[in-house]
């Protein structure tokens, strides 16, 4: 965790404040997928906020809603004083270049028919960059070198690169517009572990050098711990727990967070952790359980859990947890 980021957290208003984000998909016939329900969080300037959860928890949809690749059902997203969700498509186009996304799959995220130069050029067009050829060429070279590739790679096609290198090209494309905010949607999940480490180092390096603000979506807790200043834990479209990563990792309060941490391998044979094994699968988001959505798999669930939706309660040091029994379980 960077000290600068922690300071700026307190110093100024968050770059992005999401409130009550809800995303439902109508399947027809009265069936509705509750992908995200009432999600609120802040992304401070210059910080990396991690969004974790298992498959189907709504973390990817959250990222896509924020940059309006899917239109959110309700909620607000104040970005630098403007609600992104209330902008018309035309106005949104002006904001697009300030928000970028990096995708999970390094293979399908680059158009196979375009050279690397053409891919980055498209982003430079969006940025309104100088049209002069020489300036473009130089900038493309700079961007490629910034992400650890070489300028002469510009004339190649995506299929000539490895997965890690392709992900770097994705970064170069995102950085070409000089965005204020980047959604990184599982950017290393599809890579080999050795390559993951290189790309993670690149992200950290770039974040510190360029002062990037990032929402880092991942199911890999170790990766999030390494990279993120703050962590949000999602389950079935709702936030279970959030807080500064140190606090959350050292003292998880929500049974779901504990279960997730228990399943994550720890490279230390002497360290003991509470073993909590989750039974069953994540329920269908078409028919989410009443009350606390986690109760069907929670080892500590009681009858009261089905009755009320637990609100997010502060448990000190910026940590918040949505569990009616967090006092007893602490």
């Amino acid at each position: 965790m960077s000290l600068a980021a922690a300071e700026s957290t307190q110093a100024c208003a968050p770059l992005l404040r999401v409130e009550g984000l809800t995303q439902r998909f109508n399947l027809g016939g009265g069936r509705v997928v509750h992908a995200i329900e009432d999600v609120s969080f802040d992304v401070p300037r210059g910080a990396i906020v991690g969004l974790v959860g298992e498959s189907g928890s709504g973390k990817t949809t959250t990222g896509r809603s924020l940059i309006r690749l899917v239109e959110p059902t309700s909620g607000t997203a104040m970005f630098d004083g403007v609600d992104l969700f209330s902008l018309s498509p035309r106005e949104m186009r002006q904001y697009r270049r300030r928000l970028q996304i990096i995708f999970q799959d390094p293979y399908s995220s680059l158009n196979p028919r375009l050279t690397v130069a053409a891919i980055i050029n498209e982003a430079l067009d969006a940025r309104g960059f100088d049209k002069a050829r020489a300036a473009r060429k130089q900038r493309i070279g700079e961007l490629l070198e910034m992400v650890g590739l070489r300028a002469e790679h510009a004339q190649r096609y995506p299929h000539e690169f490895s997965g890690g290198q392709r992900q770097r090209i994705g970064f170069a494309r995102a950085l070409a517009v000089e965005p204020d905010f980047i959604v990184a949607d599982e950017p290393v999940s599809a890579l080999d572990v050795s390559v993951q480490a290189q790309v993670l180092n690149l992200i950290r390096d770039l974040q510190q050098r360029l002062g990037l603000t990032m929402l880092f979506i991942s199911h890999d807790l170790a990766v999030v711990e390494y990279l993120c200043d703050e962590v949000i834990v999602m389950y079935l479209g709702r936030i279970m727990e959030k807080g500064p990563s140190q606090a959350l990792y050292s003292n998880p309060r929500h049974p779901y967070t504990r279960a997730l941490l228990a399943t994550a391998p720890v490279p230390d044979p002497t360290r003991k952790r509470e073993r909590v094994l989750l039974k069953g699968d994540i329920p269908s988001p078409i028919n989410p359980p009443s009350g606390c959505v986690f109760r069907t798999r929670c080892p500590h669930a009681i009858e009261a859990c089905a009755a009320t939706l637990p609100p997010l309660e502060a448990v000190g040091a910026g940590q918040q947890v949505a569990c009616i029994r967090h006092h007893e379980l602490a």
Binding site: R64, I67, L69, M92, R93, Q94, R96, R97, L99, Q100, I101, F103, Q104, D105, S108, S109, L110, N111, P112, R113, L114, T115, E122, A123, D125, A126, H153, Q155, R156, Y157, H159, E160, F161, S162, G163, Q165, G170, R173, V177
Partner: protein
């Protein structure tokens, strides 16, 4: 994971013709096509006889020195007629491919990319495909009036739904790919996304369909002419030559054989070129020799 190869695929689409010539199959296709095209263009200067010159005395002569490809039932020189026929047949073929591609690509992209347009456009496409090709073409030509231009328009409309289907199916897949989302996230205007990201990646199946349609159009034009709704029977096309020669199949098979061979050669060489172009347009398959 593919290692970085040292291939110079970066040369892009420049020198496409030169690279087509470097592949033996597409080079053969290009050469044959070029010969057929040049012959058609130079027809008035290279044919041994006028295409319409009657000579009842020499009717139904087998191929020989005087008439290399023989003569038909009116004593007209089959070789000369065949070369002249190439003019209209090739023009109709190419025009139909261009017209049906324009309509088909537009319909397919709109139906595939915009969810709201998919249902009405797909129903329209299905409705058009429910008619037998030739029947729909006859109806259209009958409505428009018989002329070469109207035959092209009718066949262009008849074949457009096939291309529209191919384009729509590919567009549905490509629309959801992250590189299209990346372009959206950059604020790239939709028409640019459609051309740069979607259409470019639909090019391969489109080329293959295009070569089929070319062949079909030449044959369909023949059918229309035979049924009397196409171009005037005085104007030779490969199709009319075949349909008129049909009744002499026993006595003078050469009347049909040579124009038929011309169609086969043209279509075959077009498909060889089409295959080569498909491979060269795809950077993953492109290899410089």
């Amino acid at each position: 994971m593919s290692a970085i190869s040292s291939s110079a695929a970066g040369s892009g689409e420049r020198g496409l013709v030169r690279r087509l010539f470097s592949r033996p199959t597409s080079a053969a296709g290009l050469a044959v096509l070029a010969i057929i095209l040049i012959a058609a263009v130079l027809a008035p200067w290279i044919t041994p006889y006028a295409p319409g010159k009657l000579s009842i005395a020499h009717r139904l002569q087998a191929p020989g020195i005087a008439h290399l490809f023989g003569t038909d039932d009116f004593g007209r020189d089959v070789l000369s007629r065949m070369i002249f026929a190439g003019r209209l047949s090739l023009t109709v073929g190419f025009s139909v491919v261009v017209l049906s591609s324009l309509i088909g690509v537009l319909l397919g992209l709109l139906a595939g990319y915009f969810r709201k347009l998919d249902r009405p456009l797909s129903r329209l496409i299905d409705a058009m495909m429910a008619f037998p090709d030739i029947l729909l073409a006859i109806a259209l030509v009958a409505a428009l009036g018989a002329s070469a231009a109207n035959v092209v328009i009718a066949l262009g409309i008849v074949y457009a739904p096939r291309l529209a289907r191919v384009v729509r199916a590919s567009t549905l897949v490509i629309r959801e790919l992250p590189y299209v989302e990346a372009a959206k996230a950059l604020g790239v205007p939709t028409p640019v996304i459609l051309v740069r990201h979607v259409l470019r990646n639909v090019a391969s199946p489109l080329l293959v369909q295009g070569t089929f349609i070319f062949a079909n159009a030449i044959l369909a034009e023949a059918g229309l002419s035979f049924l009397g709704v196409g171009v005037s029977p005085d104007v030779p096309t490969w199709g009319t030559m075949i349909s008129l020669g049909r009744q002499y199949l026993d006595q003078a098979p050469w009347i049909m054989f040579f124009p038929g061979g011309a169609i086969v050669l043209t279509v075959l060489s077009l498909q060889l070129v089409g295959d080569g172009m498909r491979d060269l347009l795809d950077p993953r398959l492109a290899k410089d020799i």
